[in-house]
Amino acid sequence: MSEQPLLFTQRPPGAISLLKNGIFGENPVFRLALSLCPAVAVTTTVANGIMLGVAVLLVQVLSSVTVALTRRWIHPRVRIPVYTIIIAVWVSAIDMVLAGFFPLLYAQVGLYVKLIVAFAIIISRLEVFASRMPLIPTFWDGLGMGLGFLFALMAIGTFREVLGNGTLLGFRIVPEKPLLFFALPAGGFFSIALLMAFFNVLERRMSGGKNVAPSTGGSHGQAA
């Protein structure tokens, strides 16, 4: 990943490159292979994907900004527990808002909204980015990562809803249920496999046929 050194440059990068980095270069799901659980679990329909994606986006931006504002007072030795508490506070807030305003959707994805607190992507962005950079770039980085996550969930959700249910956002676009398989748990794993392979091919094409390291999932160390 050519974008990797960008995190360690002295001057914080611009907003556009940070957004692009989050959506394509370091897409949380397809490239970093972090936070995969919700990516399979809630993507049987696009609406569920959007709901969780927006929740993650909000939590990521809010906790990134909180950490960027308060990092001066966070002792490095207790930073992980403090980050966890910050995330947990924002997750609880978002959880209550969603439960209050979208009860029907929430009934389906409620457990996963609560589990955002354990998503590796959020804490790893806090550790890698928000704890070292000033407020403005942190905001854009959080937004980029959140959008990248939202985009990934929507892509998988669209794929699975159209193929598995014949609908898109609840509207029927294919006469009958074409391939129920993709709506089943097993189909979720296969959809991700196919989409990841597709992104690998795309990446290779864009880098001009050069051999790019595939997303091996070697980034699990970051989960800690």
Binding site: A33, L34, S35, L36, C37, P38, V40, A41, I80, P81, T84, I85, A88, V89, V91, S92, D95, M96, L111, K114, L115, V117, A118, F119, A120, I123, L184, P185, A186, G187, G188, F189, F190, I192, A193, L194, M196, A197, F198, N200, V201, R204, P214, S215, T216, G217, H220, A223, A224
Partner: protein, 319 residues
């Protein structure tokens, strides 16, 4: 080599201890059996998990039509439930098949109209626990049907012995955190109306246990710590550990069910890790298309396992 053996022994002992504590708690929390009228013609009634009730009768019952029997839920005593079939079993017992699913946590009253007799029945506690353990380990396997813990699942399932170690560590931490969270939820958060804090409290409990285990193991069992320390750190940010207390809180489960869920899902996760690591060791030798190398093929493999685990969804037992 003595090291791995003592390791396994220590792990088994820890699990056994957790389980014993769980059983003791469950026994303490179990409700006493309902008293019954001594003149009743039914001498025993057992709810067999999904939709069957078995009656042992003192005298043979001639009228075996469903209308001769009445099953009511203890929470709605005036609404009789539909009875789909009545059969006699060898030995004179009667098996009622109820049209709806029976809730294993509820109590039921079963009556025969002629000869008149009534008996209250509750599912046997061990049957309930067994149901929870099996269903969370196989039917609702956390990895293959609920998609939890995937990061760790794909991260450590490359080698078989790492995955076994990970499975043990996870099961132990899950049991411990489920027990502590259950206690906090039942005795502190519910009486004080602090349920909205559950996310913060439960992640705190998990982080605390992981940190405590890490410190204790480093001081007392350095060799254990050397092998399992890495996994311990990974556990804090893992959804599978946090999901157990959250699910328990959602269902307002009792102590026994909470621990059974933790045990079952821990065992299910360990099983999934072990299966996957065996398959991935084979995958090393396979020629995989370039685009599918690494994670994509692992996902496809998990999809195949998930397909196989769907076979468990029709699993019924305790007939």
């Amino acid at each position: 080599m003595a090291k791995p053996r003592s390791l396994v022994l220590a792990g088994t002992a820890a699990l056994a201890l957790c389980f014993a504590i769980g059983l003791a708690l469950a026994a303490a929390a179990g409700r006493p059996a309902a008293p019954h009228a001594p003149s009743s013609v039914i001498t025993r009634a057992r709810v067999l998990a999904p939709d069957h009730v078995r009656l042992t009768v003192a005298a043979p019952v001639a009228d075996l039509r469903p209308s001769n029997f009445r099953v009511t839920d203890e929470r709605a005593p005036d609404v009789p439930m539909d009875i789909a079939a009545v059969e006699t079993l060898p030995g004179g017992a009667i098996l009622l098949t109820v049209a709806d699913r029976l809730d294993p946590a509820a109590g039921y009253r079963i009556s025969i109209l002629s000869p008149a007799g009534t008996r209250e029945a509750k599912p046997a506690p061990w049957a309930l626990l067994f149901t929870v353990v099996i269903s969370s380990a196989l039917i609702n396997n956390f990895v293959f049907t609920r998609y939890l813990g995937l990061c760790i699942f794909f991260g450590v399932s490359k080698k078989r012995d790492t995955s076994v170690g990970m499975g043990f560590t996870f099961a132990a931490v899950m049991l411990l955190s489920a027990a502590i969270s259950w206690g906090l939820y039942t005795f502190v958060m519910r009486p004080l109306e602090l349920k909205f804090l559950q996310v913060i409290v439960f992640i705190g409990v998990v982080a605390f246990i992981v940190q405590a285990l890490d410190t204790i193991l480093r001081k007392t069992h350095a060799s254990l710590h050397q092998r399992f320390g890495v996994y311990l750190v990974l556990i804090t940010t893992n959804c599978i550990i946090l999901a157990v207390p959250l699910l328990n809180a959602q269902a307002e489960s009792g102590a026994g069910e909470s621990l059974a869920l933790a045990l079952g899902s821990g065992a299910g996760f360990a099983l999934a890790l072990f299966l996957m690591s065996c398959a991935r060791e084979r995958l090393e030798l396979a020629r995989v298309p370039a685009a599918f190398q690494g994670l994509p093929i692992a996902f496809a493999l998990a999809g195949l396992f998930a397909l196989a685990f769907m076979g468990f969804s029709g699993l019924t037992f305790l007939r």
